[in-house]
């Protein structure tokens, strides 16, 4: 597949970021309403979440780059979405709303990540290692060097879309699909990061370290949840 990163009118990256927010926030709004969150609270979440998500995405990249440059970190964005869920649920003050909003956030985040990675694919960033096998991407254009790379962004798009669909299926079958979706997403991101060009020369990247922390945190929460249920 050949992708020319030059564009005539609007660059695809911000368009896909906005689309990912649109899809994710619409889904979260509908799920929150269905689960009993008040309409006004669900609506205010759609305003607060993009602001906090983009802000924390920028902050995390700024910190990880050693205060050198700004960027949009997906894990920072995830932290922003969760922070917005927590903030709204705490402001609303109704018991049980924290769990509902965090659950719906977790279910929709894979969809948002999947769509945003299409922007990275078309923009030529977060690209894969040099690769000449099947399904390789050939980047051309004035914004990137001409290169044949592994289609890691496309792989992420497909896998995270599947994780999202799995989450939607699981929530009809089991009471709490959050741990499965969360850990699967973190493990997938961790493994695919090895296929990224930016991973060259590193044993484990900053993003992978964050993924490990997230996996560990969720496993500790699972442990305490099970212990509380047994008590």
């Amino acid at each position: 597949m050949e992708i020319n990163t030059d564009y005539d009118f609007i660059p695809p990256y911000p368009v896909m970021i906005l689309l990912s927010f649109l899809a994710g926030l619409t889904g979260m709004y509908l799920l929150n309403i269905r689960d009993g969150i008040r309409k006004n609270v669900a609506g205010y979440f759609c305003l607060l979440a993009p602001a906090m998500s983009i802000f924390l995405g920028i902050v995390l990249t700024y910190l990880s780059s050693g205060f050198q440059y700004f960027g949009l970190s997906s894990i920072g964005g995830l932290a922003g979405m969760y922070a917005a869920s927590l903030t709204l649920a705490l402001i609303s003050g109704k018991p049980g709303e924290i769990g509902i909003m965090m659950k719906n956030c977790t279910l929709l985040l894979p969809l948002m990540y999947s769509i945003s990675k299409i922007g990275c694919l078309l923009g030529g960033c977060c690209r894969g290692i040099a690769y000449h096998g099947a399904f390789r991407i050939h980047y051309t254009g004035s914004r990137t060097d001409s290169a044949y790379v592994f289609p890691v962004q496309l792989t992420e798009t497909i896998l995270f879309l599947l994780i999202f669909l799995l989450g939607m299926f699981l929530q009809r079958k089991i009471r709490n699909p959050v741990p499965a979706v969360f850990i699967l997403s973190a493990v997938t991101k961790f493994l695919l990061d090895f296929m990224r060009e930016s991973h060259a020369g590193e044993i484990i990247s900053f993003t992978q370290m964050l993924c490990l922390i997230l996996i560990l945190t969720e496993m500790i929460l699972i442990f305490f949840r099970k212990r509380n249920n047994q008590v």
């Binding site: 802000f55 440059y69 949009l72 402001i91 923009g123």
Partner: protein
């Protein structure tokens, strides 16, 4: 048998999601339900999680008796409609002492909501000044953080004290500014393109 929960008669008790709750009858006014902290379940019914005190009170009488919570009595009453009783069942009228407590709560709420509005405006103002005169990237990040904190304070007023007009105005202004910021295409697009090259 039923549980008459203050202004919501005809509720039924049932454990739900591991908690002791009462379900309101279908067709009850939703605004009234929200005032009494009823939440919507997945099947569309409205339920309220009972406090420990309320649960103990329900357990003592239900399901053999109707349980009646009212403002006229500090303890709920139990009434078995199959037995004659000389007790006068309460009407759903709030007592004068409850009105006084409500007035005090209103005054406190007005004060708190106005203080939150002032702080919200201050944070937004500091954010604006830093944004206008920022020299370093840290200033830029701090200014955006200030806007977000100001917005959250306005959200607290909008959700907890919806009758506060100042809070509504502030929230409206922030919303418009936020939407404008999202549509500032030239700077945002250029910024995001440079972000794309640095995204993780």
């Amino acid at each position: 048998m039923y549980i008459n929960y203050y202004f919501i008669p005809g509720c039924t008790y049932s454990p739900y999601q591991g908690k002791n709750v009462i379900f309101a009858p279908d067709g009850t006014d939703e605004d009234l339900l929200q005032q009494y902290d009823f939440q919507k379940a997945e099947d569309g019914r409205y339920f309220r999680i009972l406090t420990e005190q309320e649960y103990q009170a329900v357990k003592r009488g239900y399901p053999n008796n109707n349980v009646i919570f009212s403002y006229e009595n500090s303890q709920p009453m139990y009434h078995n409609p199959n037995r004659k009783t000389s007790k006068k069942l309460p009407d759903f009228i709030p007592s004068p002492s409850d009105s006084e407590t409500e007035n005090q709560k209103d005054e406190k709420g007005i004060l708190i909501s106005n203080i939150l509005c002032i702080f919200s405006f201050l944070f937004a103002a500091i954010g604006t000044i830093l944004w206008t005169y920022h020299d370093t990237n840290i200033d830029f990040l701090v200014s955006v953080g200030m806007f977000i904190i100001g917005g959250i304070l306005a959200l607290i007023v909008k959700i907890r004290y919806p009758e506060n007009i100042l809070g509504t105005i502030l929230f409206g202004v922030y919303t418009v500014l936020f939407l404008i910021a999202m549509f500032v295409i030239v700077k945002l697009v250029a910024f995001m393109v440079s972000c794309c090259m640095a995204c993780l």
